[in-house]
Structure formats: structure tokens, C-alpha cells
Symmetry: C2
Subunit: 339 residues, 2 copies
DNA sequence: CTGTTAGCGCATTCAT
DNA sequence: ATGAATGCGCTAACAG
């Protein structure tokens, strides 16, 4: 009885043999929607429990061609925004029976090889976060019909669905807000300018300023605390008048605040700072950062919906969908009314 | 020629047929250590490239019984320490050809079901980070001989290998250090007291103080910024004299700093604060936190070594190894010399 | 409802 | 060095 416990891998056949029934009957017990009598189901379940049997997902997926695995590609785990996103994807997809195969990219540069490896595992779909595909990879996936959703990044004429915050709107509203509060000498600290997020936030910001006839300075902050810290130093030490800085993400805004404090520039009395994301850190009392809240919950939900729809109905997906979801202003203490 | 591109899944047989050779020959080309002539290898490789063939890892693992997947279970992604750890595991294991199946737990409570699902995927090993196994799960894994390494957590009489920082030593050195710097009224803000990390750090701290005849207050900080923020408020608003706080991790130390500042208590002039971890945030100029550096690189390396050794030589692993690696003090600006 | 059969895509004997 | 045959553990189609 108990010697099953010693066995390395108990298979459905083992259970079947022990019970004097066929392997397929055992299999049916573990196959949703298959028909088994209540009595045999009970017997099988008990024996499985006893013997420590669990269906082998690998073997199953070989035949069903459903691995129930989804690849997730993530670059910048240093920005708290992303671990949070990862956690939410894990939870939500877990509820639906999917598991995450995690790939971390260096420098947000997706290596073809890493991604091919994902495919070899028959992932049913891939979520790409803060990174872009090389065009050769893109067409490979297109040919292979592997569903992909870009999260928080997109490209012109992309071959794949994308979900992000409405970054243009966010940038625009931030510009308006800063102007409304009486700021006239503005600066933008950018992330990697090749990213749609940084690009769009800047674009919206620029539109708002242009409408009112204002211009602004741009510095490169690399989407990192350190990068923005240095950028802010350059900005504040220059001769340019400056009363507000819009940072393309929160982590850079925090770097900007710290840099300002370091050289005795008061926030917000001397210069206002506004971020983008609304990460947990932004609410810490050390910062109390005024920022733009990305609707992460909705973005996650939209991504999953798009991905699963594509997975379930591969045929009707010639149409590329780009969802952009509006965020909202979170007023804290780093922007002052200058009137 | 090109119509292969339209095909859903190109198999080894497809390639073999196109080349007029056997499936096994094709297979051998992709099997390290198998013998194929240079000429046929070249032909196969070219055809595979043409036709978009890649070996199916699922099918392969079914027969080799090597999935090349490792499960990683992680709880608190809000503490930046862990995303960083995840990223490093991903990189290092990736180099060795392993992929990560990621599971996020709620409340650091590993649900049996989630873990069983990992097993169904034939993960070759599991890394458990900042969470513990229920004892029923533990014995299940023991029976199944699935290698597990606990990272940054361990239990008495654990059935599994564990790797962590030498937390007792860390706590001890911190106690000594604070005393040496002339502090006499000490407090400890704990994480979850059921965790070995919090427990051991406290234990070492306590030893150091006892040796010199000092006592200390304990407050519960829950390993979170918020929890520690409140704990610090309680501490500072009480009538107790206080000149130094040791927080069981960095994120709590940051909460403590912010709480102190909020009510006008100067750091380090009025009270010194020291953390544990040395996360990136600790070095930010807003905090300049003096802390204890966990040797993350070494811890990761040790974990991987233990895990892979166990995977490769399952038989000789009745011996449970617990590796604890010494950390080091990082002096910044939150501890003052009170002499 | 259950047993028999076939085969998913591959690595691995055993021949040659 | 290569081909033929076998089976990993499972689900699905087909009988009954």
C-alpha cells in the first residue's frame, strides 16, 4: 500500500492497474468535461490521493496543445512599477489556470534566443513589458501565430496588440495642470526616447504647452533614479529659469526631488516636480509626489482579455488592437500654485 | 519552399521528410552529444532555419525527464529586495539553460494547490523565497524527491536546503556597532516574528546588548514601510528614552526615517536608524541609510549551486545543508557617534 | 459510461 | 553515421 510513496513518478497507468481499470478511465477523471460515473470517480480520486498521483501537465499539453503557460518578458525590475505588474499578472492569470514563464531581459533588449526558448515551451501567449521586439522576431511570431500583447509599449504599425496608459493624454493633462498652477518655465526629463511611453508623454506635454505658447527644456533621465538625479543637477545648475519639472516616470521624479534637495532647491517652493505612474513610493511622506496615476488594474485586465481572446480564437485576429486607458491626476505636495 | 511558413508547427519529421532522411537524424542534430556528420548537420540546420523548425521542449522533456524549468515562489514583491533577487535568479539560471516558472503568493502563505501545479509541470527544482511550506507539502516534496532550496528563510529541522545571510551575526554586529557609537536606549522594529530572518536578526542583536548589559524595546513593523512608519510613531511618542532604532529590513528603516521626520525628530541627531538588506533605495541621498549589506550575489550563487547539485545527483542528498553567508556593514548617514 | 487504440513530438535503443 | 522501432504520459476518437 504505502510503497507507492517511494516511487518516483506515479502515472495514470499505475493507478489504473492498481484499480483494475483502464488508463483512459483514470485520465477521464482528471479531464474536465469527460464522463465518468460518480462511483469510479470517487475510487480513482481516492487511489490517486493514496498513491500521490497527479496528472503530468507536460504530457497533457503535448496532446492538447495547451501548455497553460504564458511567457512574460520584463526588463526593468528596478522600477517598482514592474514587479507590481508582474505580481498582478501572476495572480490574475493564475486564477484562470495559467502559469507564468518569466524572462528577464538585460537593457530592455530582448535577445532573440531567449524568446525562441519561450516558444519551444509552447507558451500559449507572451506578454512583453517595457521592451520591444526586433522586427525579425516580430514576423516570426506573426507567422507562428503566437499571440503577443505589448504591455506599456507599442510601435507604429505593430503586428501585435498593445495596452498602455493613454500617455499622450497624461502628458497633455500634466502640461495643462502645471500651466494652470502658474508655472511658466518648464522642463521635461525623459526616459529612453525610443520608448513609446516617454515619447507619448512628451508629445502630450508639448501639445499642452504649445497651445499656450510656451516652450520647455528636455533632459535625458534614462528612466532611472540616478539618471534623473544627474539630469536634474544639470537643469538646476544651468542659468535657465525653471519653476517646474515633469519627469516621465515616478522613479525619476524621486531622483529629481533628491537632487534638488541636495543643492538646496526647495520642492515645491522653488520648483514643482510631477511624476508619472503613481508607484507606492510616491505616496511616502518623504516624497508626497504629485503624479499621474496609471490605471494598472484596468491595464492588466485589458491585457489579459486581449491575450486570452487571441488564444481562444486565433483565427479572427488579423485586427491589431491598441488599447490606451486614461489615467488620472494624483495631487500631493510637490506642485505649488504659483499665482 | 516558402509555404512552410504557413504551417502551424513544424516538426522534426517534417524536416526529415523534406530532406529525405529519418526523423532520428534530425533529432540528433539538436541533441547535444549525439553523433552526426558535419555534412548532414549543416543540411539539417539550414532546412530547420528555412522551415522555422525548433525542437519542442515539451515533447523533449517528456522523454528526457528534464523540463529545464525551475519553480520560483515569491511573496513580497513590494520589498525591492525580492524583485532584484528574482532578476538575478532569472539571469543566472538562464545562463545554465533553466527557465523560471514564477508563482506569487499572497501573504507569504504558500497555497498547496499552487505548488502542486508547479509539480505537475515537472519542475526540476523549486526555489522558495520569503515563504514557508506547510508541513504536509514538505513531506510531499520529500517523498517525491523534488529538490527545494529555501532562500532567505529556514525552519528548524527543515527537510530542505536553505540559504540565507548570517542574520544572527548581522544582528549581533549591528548591536555592537550601535553600542560602540555610544547608543544606550535602543529599539528593534521587527518583521513577522515567525520568520527566521526577523527572529535571527533580533536574536543576534539581543546577544550583543546582553553582553554589555543593555536592554531594548521591540515594536512590530510587519516588514513593510507602513507598518514600520506606525511602529516608529508609537516608539517616538512614548515616554521611553530612545537614541537608536534597528529595523529588521531596509524598507522598514525608510518608514522609520520618514516617520521621525514627520514629527520633527532629527535623524541621526536625535535618533540613529539602521536597516538590513542594503537595497538600492538605501543609497538614495534622501535616506543615505546606514545598513547591513546582504551578500546577495553569493546567496544566489549558493542557492543555485545547492539546487543544481541536488538535481544532478539526487541520490546523495539525504544531508540537509544550511548555508548562511556573512554580510557587512555599510556606513552612511543615519547613525551618529554619540560620544 | 468504459475499454481499446492511436498518436502528440521527440530521444533513444538497436541494428546496420 | 544513419534508419527503424519503441515509448515517455497523456487525451481523444471510436466502439461497445
Amino acid at each position: 500500500m504505502e510503497e507507492w510513496l517511494m516511487q518516483k513518478n506515479v502515472t495514470a497507468s499505475d493507478v489504473a492497474r492498481a484499480l483494475g481499470m483502464s488508463q483512459s478511465t483514470v485520465s477521464r477523471v482528471f479531464t474536465p468535461g469527460a464522463s465518468v460515473s460518480a462511483k469510479t470517480r470517487k475510487k480513482v480520486l481516492e487511489a490517486a490521493q493514496q498513491m500521490g498521483y497527479r496528472p503530468n501537465a507536460i504530457a497533457r499539453s503535448l496532446i492538447t496543445k495547451k501548455s497553460n503557460m504564458i511567457g512574460i518578458v520584463m526588463g526593468d525590475v528596478k522600477n517598482p512599477f514592474y514587479p507590481n505588474v508582474l505580481s498582478m499578472f501572476s495572480r490574475e492569470l493564475g486564477k484562470k489556470g495559467y502559469h507564468l514563464l518569466f524572462v528577464n531581459t538585460k537593457n530592455n533588449q530582448i535577445s532573440d534566443d531567449e524568446i525562441f526558448q519561450l516558444c519551444e515551451y509552447n507558451v500559449e501567449g507572451i506578454i512583453i513589458t517595457d521592451a520591444l521586439l526586433t522586427s525579425s522576431l516580430a514576423s516570426y511570431f506573426k507567422d507562428k501565430q503566437i499571440p503577443i500583447v505589448m504591455f506599456n509599449r507599442y510601435e507604429q504599425n505593430s503586428l501585435f496588440h498593445a495596452v498602455s496608459c493613454d500617455n499622450i493624454d497624461g502628458g497633455y493633462q500634466i502640461g495643462k495642470y502645471l500651466l494652470t498652477k502658474g508655472h511658466r518655465h518648464l522642463a521635461f526629463i525623459s526616459g529612453n526616447p525610443n520608448t513609446s511611453t516617454s515619447h507619448d508623454r512628451k508629445k502630450g506635454f508639448q501639445e499642452a504647452l504649445q497651445e499656450s505658447g510656451y516652450t520647455y527644456t528636455t533632459e535625458y533621465g534614462d528612466y532611472t533614479y540616478e539618471g534623473s538625479y544627474q539630469a536634474t543637477l544639470r537643469l538646476l545648475k544651468s542659468a535657465l529659469p525653471l519653476d517646474a519639472i515633469f519627469c516621465a516616470n515616478d522613479i525619476m521624479a524621486l531622483g529629481a526631488i533628491d537632487a534638488a534637495k541636495e543643492i538646496g532647491v526647495r520642492i515645491p517652493e522653488d520648483v514643482s516636480i510631477i511624476g508619472f505612474d503613481d508607484i507606492d513610493l510616491a505616496a511616502w511622506s518623504a516624497y508626497s509626489l504629485t503624479t499621474w496615476k496609471q490605471p494598472v488594474n484596468k491595464m492588466i485586465a485589458a491585457t489579459i482579455e486581449l491575450l486570452l481572446k487571441h488564444i481562444e480564437k486565433p483565427e479572427q485576429n488579423n485586427l491589431i488592437i491598441y488599447k490606451s486607458i486614461k489615467g488620472s491626476l494624483v495631487e500631493r505636495k510637490t506642485v505649488m500654485d504659483r499665482h
